[in-house]
Amino acid sequence: MKHIKTINMGALKNSIAKPGCKECANSCQSACKTSCTVANLECENR
């Protein structure tokens, strides 16, 4: 493409194929304790 450079093809939609194991951390456990961000957690089932 000449005008658009795609840097992510839709990882969110593709993750629907994952099992949704819910083994990942809870967001407050990592550092924040006040300002919940879920997107910066790591997947335990890569």
């Binding site: 795609t6 093809m9 969110l12 939609k13 993750s15 083994e23 967001s27 006040t34 300002s35 919940c36």
Partner: protein
């Protein structure tokens, strides 16, 4: 909202909200997107012909259409039914253990009322701690990973019990096949060589509190005699971090307030001290508190995040990069959609336990009797409340459904929502605004680094 676009670091970035696709586009596409859904190609050409020629506009239009057809622009939300149909049980598998409702500091912004959570100053007994470990193991059901955060107050005021709890957990881990990960959050004042070795060996993560520059830290993080802690804690934090070899996690974590809106300098101070994992987070206080962040501070805060994002890119390219917690978004990975639509987990996957064994949806709700879920000795008594938290996801938060950042923050902090709006379903707006800025910065950093 299906699309979000913004400009940062000289790039035009477009996020397709529902697929998670991210594009860097030129000015033509950026402008065409303003009209793409509402006007025909001819009308768009008419509208933008003073800026671009017909051929350019046709090309841009075609590229947008192609991505739309491929499911990377204007995608519909395909996830809603997943969560609405999820009637299965939930498992409590993460716990904040309030080892001490007491603290040797009286930081001016403390949400826990200088450690006592507005109650009696108290240390957790080993008996309660062990019972809490049993509780979480029993309630984790099929989940293998169990997380325990040793929290306070200041947990190291009760180090003997910390050791007993960890030892007990290791034994229970072997018996049950669970994988228990400990984190400890400490103000660093009580760190000794013995304690540091223990932490290094047993903690998956250690969160070390310092607010940045000496004058900033010592304005807020003070002892009972009013003296600051900086000179005492910085060498201890450095020593603790030096022990964290082989990729063992730590976070040097601070809070910024209205008195250091130039918190970029605090992040940099910590980075220049050699720390590689840094988190400086906005204070959450009611408007009338002198340290609270307010609407009129946002412009300055945004500038600070912009500056920080640019500096992080610069340092990364020089091989001197560091991680800023809130910018750690892995655009090609991160948690799956099941996690993102279910939220932070407070109240149904994650709970906090007091020194008396009382269970609350998270550490921020501790002390609010309306939110007591039960006790580790008697079990969960308020299953309705657990259900409320489980259903407190983005699809039940109308404002989140209008927001492009919903799959990044997943509905925000329930406790903040409650304390500002008395309803976990109504987002804490100032927090949302800062969150959105951080997500933009995080994505821009990744885009910039991929560009070259």
């Amino acid at each position: 909202m299906k699309l979000h676009k913004f400009k940062q670091m000289g790039m035009n970035i477009v996020i397709d909200v529902n697929s998670g696709a991210i594009h860097v586009v030129d000015d033509i596409v950026y402008d065409v997107l303003d009209y793409y859904k509402n006007l025909s190609l001819d009308e768009i050409i008419n509208k933008l012909q003073t800026k671009y020629n017909k051929e350019q506009l046709e090309e841009a239009y075609d590229e947008i259409r192609q991505l739309e057809e491929e499911g990377m622009l204007y995608t519909e939300d395909p996830y809603k039914n997943i969560i609405l149909n999820d009637n299965g049980p939930s498992y409590i598998k993460a716990m904040c253990l309030n080892i001490a409702h007491d603290c040797n500091l009286k930081c001016k912004y403390c949400f826990a009322s200088e450690g006592d959570y507005k109650g009696e100053r108290k240390l957790m007994s080993a008996e309660v701690g062990k019972k809490a470990i049993d509780f979480v193991i029993e309630n984790a059901g099929p989940r293998r990973n169990v997380e325990i955060d040793l929290f306070g107050g200041e947990p190291l005021m009760n180090f003997k019990v910390v050791k007993e709890i960890v030892e007990y957990a290791r034994q229970r881990e072997k018996e049950t096949g669970k994988n228990i990960r400990f984190t400890i959050t400490t103000n660093a004042t009580l760190l000794t060589d013995e304690i540091m070795d223990f932490i290094d060996e047993n903690m998956g993560n250690v969160v070390l509190s310092i607010d940045g520059r000496k004058e900033v830290n010592d304005n807020i993080r003070i002892r009972y005699d009013g003296t600051g802690t900086f000179d005492d804690i910085l060498p201890k934090i450095k020593k603790m971090v030096e022990k964290r070899k082989d990729g063992k996690q730590y976070y040097v974590r601070g809070t910024f307030t209205r008195e250091n809106l130039d918190f970029y300098n605090d992040v940099m101070m910590l980075a220049d001290e050699g720390f590689k994992e840094i988190s400086i987070e906005p204070v959450v206080l009611e408007d009338k508190h002198p340290l609270s962040l307010r609407e009129e501070d946002l412009e300055t805060i945004y500038e600070q995040y912009d500056k920080l994002a640019e500096e992080i890119v610069r340092r990364e390219k020089e091989g001197k990069g560091f991680k800023f917690y809130h910018f750690n978004i892995d655009v090609n990975g991160g948690p799956c959609v099941y996690k993102r639509i279910s939220g932070c987990g407070a109240g149904y996957e994650y709970v906090a336990v007091t020194p008396d064994g009382d269970i609350y949806p998270c550490h921020q709700f501790v002390g609010n009797e309306d939110f007591k879920l039960g006790n580790v000795f008697t079990g969960i008594e308020n299953n309705e409340l657990i259900k409320t938290f489980k259903n407190g996801h983005i699809y039940n938060k109308p404002k989140c459904m209008e927001c492009w950042a919903r799959f990044y923050c997943s509905g925000g902090c329930q406790a903040n929502n409650y304390s500002f709006n008395k309803d976990i379903h109504i987002p804490y707006e100032l927090g949302c605004k800062m969150m959105k800025k951080r997500v933009e910065c995080a994505i821009a950093i990744k885009a910039k680094l991929m560009e070259e």
